[in-house]
């Protein structure tokens, strides 16, 4: 472990320069009303953060209930319909309410203008509207649970979803509204990155997190409308019987799957691209080194965004689409693996000869390398046509996407949250508890989901309420792991909340990063910068030296560093 504790925020001197006592964005306007009507991207980001964390808690409780039910091969605590509703809601809440807006809308909103040295995003009102659309969608989704829970799975496949006797219409409308929220965020980010970059920051001087957000925003803007029309068609199908997806009326239920995955596969990259951006920041900062292969990482983000539109058919290898189509989609699917591999190798190369600091955010970045490595490599199994036929719709898939979405996105989200927490709140959290929790989540996650790879390959289908006794040991181990993970999250919640009141004041730059958000006070003033810093190489960490007196990193004159 790290010997130089002061470098990760422990025991910072009381003299640390901190804006908590001064005018900052948190106390700039007073009262709840000033929050609900704010146009400040930082406040909107914080509101998003609180909201999506609440969704994460809800989805997590659903997940624990599902795992608990699966402790025995027959009924454990609930009946089949309740179980089916719970896994549907777990998926829908986690995907549409938590993970899609997770990094872009919460962390991205807070960080993006700061990284650009800008005062705000291009359209602050649209940004607030995006938040309120999210709230409206979330309220509707929760209402649909109260009115009569949905049990279709988060994919809403027809014709089950058009025939199911439940509040499918309401939850699909909720997702439709959430789509607007996502589009508004993406549109705002694209325009902000294009038009509000400061003089001196060319495209290849942008922090890689912005490249990740840019790629994400492109997908958000171009894919989400297709989900919108799909859900609209589903709604009119249910309400009016239009028949476009209804086989009894000459329609085609598999067309729904094509439409749905045309959005939902790129959506996977909406989730993972910003996560990769976060990891690029973390690996460079905590290796105290310039990122390796900047251009390859930046281009690979855009390559992923582009190819992600062409691979949706790999969700339908067993649906009866023609062999030719399966072949094309399989081929394109393998292509999308390459940019991800490039990033992983570049991150590892960044650590070479660095001075690696194992602070909490870096532990999450290392977790990410490990878990996303497994998630990505198991993707090869699923892209290979013959093997996919066997593994499709089994627990192998469940494990694979949890390794990518949770092991990738959520872990990177946690890394980013810990990394920017001092900037957002002006407080340091407990480094020791941060590391313990990171370890708990890592171990718990692997116990939960690695077992699922094995039972899936052994043939255990997903979305099963009852299962054959031969899978019971796997299920019980998996459930045990999920409890361990839950403990990890409780620990995180406790020390982060504690830090809000008791945390040591955070310096402007506790980690020694060179991106612009660290060149304003923690927390930043409402207008972001008292003096806009000059745009330089965002990974030139050389001038940033630990200053014991300031309690953080400060920029030294270049001459002093030689």
């Amino acid at each position: 472990m790290v010997t130089n504790d002061s470098t990760v925020g422990h025991g910072t001197p009381a003299a640390v320069e901190n804006a908590l006592g001064a005018d900052n964005y948190l106390n700039h306007g007073r009262g709840l009303g000033s929050w609900f009507t704010t146009l400040d991207h930082k406040r909107i980001g914080v509101m998003y953060l609180v909201s999506i964390l609440a969704s994460f808690l809800l989805g997590g409780v659903f997940a624990l209930l599902v795992r608990t039910e699966l402790l025995t091969s027959q009924k454990t605590i609930m009946d089949a319909d309740t179980y089916n509703q719970l896994f549907t809601l777990h998926g829908a809440v986690m995907i549409f309410l938590f993970i899609i807006p997770g990094i872009p809308a919460a962390l991205g909103n807070f960080v993006l203008p700061l990284m650009l040295g800008a005062k705000d995003v291009a359209f602050p009102r649209l940004n607030l509207a995006s938040y309120y659309f999210w709230i409206a969608g979330a309220v509707l989704a929760l209402l649909s649970i109260v009115v009569g829970a949905v049990d279709t799975g988060w994919t809403f496949y027809t014709p089950y979803s058009t025939s199911a006797n439940s509040s499918v219409t309401m939850i699909t409308f909720a997702v439709f509204i959430l789509g607007f929220s996502s589009i508004f965020t993406g549109l705002n980010f694209i325009v902000t990155i294009h038009k509000l970059r400061p003089a001196g920051m060319g495209w290849f001087r942008m922090p890689l997190f912005l490249w990740g957000l840019y790629g994400t925003a492109i997908i958000q803007v171009l894919a989400t409308p297709v989900l919108g029309i799909t859900l609209l068609l589903l709604i009119v199908e249910r309400a009016l019987g239009v028949g476009i997806f209804d086989p009894a009326l000459g329609g085609d239920p598999v067309l729904y799957q094509h439409f749905f995955w045309f959005y939902s596969h790129p959506a996977v990259y909406i989730m993972i691209l910003p996560a990769m951006g976060v990891i690029s920041e973390l690996v460079s900062t905590f290796s105290r080194k310039h990122i390796f292969g900047y251009r390859f990482i930046a281009y690979s983000s855009i390559a992923i965004a582009a190819i992600s539109f062409l691979v949706w058919g790999h969700h339908m290898f067993t649906s009866g689409q023609s062999n030719l189509m399966s072949m094309i989609f399989s081929f394109l699917t393998f292509l999308v693996a390459i940019p991800s591999a490039i990033k992983v190798f570049n991150w590892i190369a960044t650590m070479y000869k660095g001075a690696i600091v194992l602070a909490t955010p870096m532990l999450y970045a290392l977790s990410f390398l490990f878990l996303f490595g497994i998630g990505g490599l198991t993707g090869l199994f699923l892209g290979a046509l013959a093997v996919d036929v066997h593994l499709h719709d089994t627990y192998f898939i469940v494990a694979h996407f949890h390794y990518v979405m949770f092991g990738g996105t959520v872990i990177a989200f946690l890394g980013g949250l810990h990394y920017w927490w001092p900037k957002m709140t002006g407080r340091m959290y407990s480094e020791r508890w941060g590391r313990i929790a990171a370890l708990l989540v890592f171990v718990g996650f692997n116990v939960t989901f690695f077992t699922q790879f094995v039972m899936g390959a052994q043939g255990m289908p997903r979305r099963y309420y009852n299962y054959l006794p031969q899978y019971q040991a796997y299920h019980q181990l998996s459930t045990l792991g999920s409890y361990l993970m839950a403990i990890g999250f409780v620990v995180i919640a406790v020390y982060l909340l504690q830090s809000l009141f008791r945390g040591a004041p955070a310096p402007a730059n506790p980690w020694g990063s060179a991106t612009m958000e660290w060149q304003t006070s923690s927390p930043p003033p409402a207008h972001n910068f008292d003096a806009t810093p000059p745009a330089g190489d965002p990974y030139d960490l050389e001038p940033w030296r630990w200053d014991a007196e300031a309690g953080g990193y400060v920029r030294r004159a270049p001459a002093a560093s030689a």
């Binding site: 790290v2 010997t3 130089n4 470098t7 319909d81 049990d151 799975g153 014709p159 089950y160 025939s163 086989p247 239920p253 598999v254 105290r288 080194k289 990122i291 292969g293 390859f296 290898f317 067993t318 649906s319 009866g320 399989s330 081929f331 393998f334 693996a337 591999a341 490039i342 992983v344 590892i348 650590m351 070479y352 000869k353 660095g354 001075a355 690696i356 600091v357 194992l358 490990f370 490595g373 090869l380 199994f381 892209g383 290979a384 046509l385 093997v387 996919d388 036929v389 719709d393 089994t394 094995v454 390959a457 052994q458 043939g459 289908p461 997903r462 979305r463 099963y464 309420y465 054959l468």
Partner: protein, 330 residues
């Protein structure tokens, strides 16, 4: 078992060379399974090699380049190296081409049935598989001879299901309104599990069946006996068989417990309350009508969700079912 045998056994399981199932894959019971497993295990070892490389380098770098007392600063090293980066772009690219081609080839083999296949019609409905043989016999399990290609022509009565036999490595979605096709050739006798792999509602996880593979001659014996149970058995007993094999029991219990549909325990000859308000006595005509036109007189408290059996049950079969209900209500 000696240590050496254990080691050999474990290695075989990890390598996937054993046909009675490995650590990863279940028993290989069809001609298609070994090909899938070879690719799976190739991918497994390839992935493991890459994973070991990633984790190994990460751990090595952390140990060597950790910041510690006396090593406060990073060492100078280049921030990009185009040749190196192109290497780790192109090598994985070539490897995935190999995987793609291999996966597609095996996939084509899995999807191309031989010309002389024996055909069985598979019908999926909530939540039951039905297997119709060329002679018209309908069964709730799939009985097949060993070493003979079997071609399945599958359709669904209601929503999308998916026919999945892990031991054969086959899976195919069964979509209403069209025919899905799959084939296999069993290489082992015994019973193999059939699952529904596409979520289809409340009892999705109970939509199970067995593939029963017979040794040469056994299948023909079974077929001869099974085909004419309607004429050989007393009608009530034949009806009892139909009641489970044709899916009635999925929704209607005979124990008095309510399900998707009303229980049929003791229903025959007694009045039932209809959703429309009227009362009607459950006699032969009512039961026949309820089988053929289920929406005509729906029992109070139940959804009108039963599919029609018009054209799917012969008159003799309906009569047998009525006899069964009559007998069990006595």
């Amino acid at each position: 078992m000696s240590v050496i045998e254990r080691v050999v056994g474990l290695t075989g399981r990890l390598l996937g060379t054993q046909s009675d199932g490995s650590f990863w894959m279940p028993v290989q019971a069809s001609t298609g399974a070994p090909g899938v497993d070879r690719l799976f295990h190739f991918l497994f070892w390839l992935s493991l090699a890459f994973f070991a490389l990633i984790v190994g380098l990460t751990v090595l770098f952390i140990v060597r380049y950790r910041r510690r007392a006396g090593r406060d600063e990073p060492e100078a090293s280049p921030s990009h190296n185009t040749a190196l980066e192109l290497t780790w772009t192109i090598v994985p690219l070539l490897l995935v081409f190999v995987i793609f081609a291999w996966g597609f080839k095996v996939f084509l083999d899995l999807n191309t049935p031989p010309a002389n296949s024996f055909e069985v019609l598979v019908t999926g409905q909530k939540w039951k598989w039905l297997f119709t043989y060329p002679n018209g016999h309908v069964d709730e399990n799939l009985h097949v001879p060993i070493d003979r290609p079997i071609r399945l022509v599958m359709t669904s009565e209601d929503v999308i299901h998916s026919f999945f036999v892990p031991d054969f490595r086959i899976k195919r979605d069964v979509v209403p309104g069209r025919y899905a096709k799959a084939w296999f050739q069993a290489t082992r006798t015994g019973e193999f599990q059939v699952y529904c792999a596409e979520y289809c509602g409340t009892s999705h996880s109970d939509m199970l069946a067995k593939v029963i593979v017979y040794e040469p001659g056994g299948f023909e014996r079974w077929m001869a006996e099974a085909a004419d149970f309607l004429t050989k058995l007393p009608p009530a007993e034949a009806g009892a068989r139909l009641f489970t094999s044709r899916g009635c029991a999925q929704c209607h219990s005979m124990s008095g417990v309510g399900g998707i549909g009303p229980t049929l325990k003791g229903v025959f000859g007694h009045p039932v309350q209809l959703a429309a308000g009227a009362n009607v006595v459950a006699d032969e005509d009512y039961i026949r009508e309820s089988i053929l036109e289920p929406q005509a007189k729906v029992v109070a408290g139940f959804q009108p969700v039963m599919p029609t059996y018009k054209g799917r049950l012969k008159d003799a079969e309906i009569t047998a079912l009525i006899e069964y209900l009559k007998k069990s209500s006595e």
